[in-house]
Symmetry: C2
Subunit: 224 residues, 2 copies
């Protein structure tokens, strides 16, 4: 199915022109990031925690410590959501009122499930790791049984999702277009910065391919 | 008061060594970003929406359309939270298990209040705008009465907050330190990219100072 169906949960009410339900677009946005924000409820207050994720088909995997309050709380919920946000630029209109940001975001809803099976758990950790930095799984020492047992992995089977995208120039009121004020977009990018080798790293070990090839995927979204 | 007191809401349970309650540090993290993630509850499911913010003392201002479901929902809550996350680097240990990220994040809790007073509303919009891009308020056309009336502004008076910071090299098990695997940190930065002038921008208008001077504040956090 190429589109997520709209329910009262994922149907975008504000700014429906920027809303998308297309699976390919949603997956592309999800696959270009590795940090999502997941809300859970504690003492009647919703709290959001950033956490790494990886995707396989319609399943999102997240992980953490066995005692992670957020993860444990999610397992008590019938449906959970997660949000992924790319901040792509500042939209500077002539009027403050029409200032905005260019962004690509996804809100996905799904049913949480504790991953118990060792093979699926290992696969989930590989998917998360490779989504953060491709090629690293093959370079590093993979989890042993004790570490696997010490990790909580949750699969969220996506049932509903929507994307919102704004990616165009500033839009002003007609009456403002003649003002002597600059209008445009200041693009923002996430880039790899310095590579800082551990002080205790063995001598003679070269920077690995995963690090050399790393590129945060600021790529353009297709198909709008 | 230089520290936020710890309650069951803001007391960091996982990774307490990375937790901070220091006001100066929390404010520095808040002031280095302009996008927060705010959760609200809709149909028994928590949903997170990214939104711009600005800070004045212990008050965080957010804004949106009068019909914004998230904002309206927040006003029904006694206490709301918001999360700000800086992703500063990938921590690549020898073992997958000890992979991590360097980050600075704040979770703040507070009481939401609708801003009705025109002067406070205008000030809030100036604070949000200037927090996104310093100097822009003085360059752009500020909101007129109609626009002000069409904007919903919420003040969140912070009552509790905590920061979590990880900013050091990879930490491996002693037994793994002899492996022939590279370990270190790949830093990530948010940078200004291209400046794209609006096609309908009047000729002869130069790139303004706010754009020329813009720098996303990837700055190092002091005082840990």
């Amino acid at each position: 199915m190429s589109e997520f169906s709209k329910s009262s949960l994922n149907k975008v009410v504000r700014g429906p022109k920027r809303a998308h339900y297309d699976r390919a677009l949603i997956n592309e946005i999800l696959d270009s990031h590795f940090l999502c924000h997941v809300p859970y409820v504690h003492e009647n207050t919703s709290i959001v925690i950033p956490t790494a994720y990886g995707r396989k088909n319609d399943t999102i995997f997240i992980h953490g410590s066995l005692k992670n309050r957020m993860l444990l709380s999610l397992l008590d919920q019938e449906k959970v959501s997660l949000t992924v946000t790319h901040l792509d630029g500042l939209v500077l209109a002539r009027s403050v009122f029409h200032h905005s940001v260019n962004y690509r975001s996804v809100v996905a809803f799904g049913t949480p499930r504790l991953v118990n099976d060792s093979d699926e758990k290992m696969e989930a950790l590989e998917i998360i790791t490779e989504n953060i930095i491709a090629g690293r799984w093959a370079e590093a020492r993979i989890p042993n049984e004790k570490e696997l047992n010490g990790t909580l992995v949750i699969a969220i089977e996506i049932t509903e999702a929507s994307a919102k995208v704004r990616e165009f120039e500033a839009m002003d009121e007609l009456a403002d277009q003649d003002l002597d004020i600059w209008a445009g977009v200041l693009e923002l990018e996430v880039n790899a910065g310095r590579v800082v080798k551990n002080q205790d790293c063995k001598e003679g070990i070269e920077t690995p391919a995963s690090v050399k090839n790393f590129k945060f995927q600021n790529r353009e979204v297709q198909g709008r």
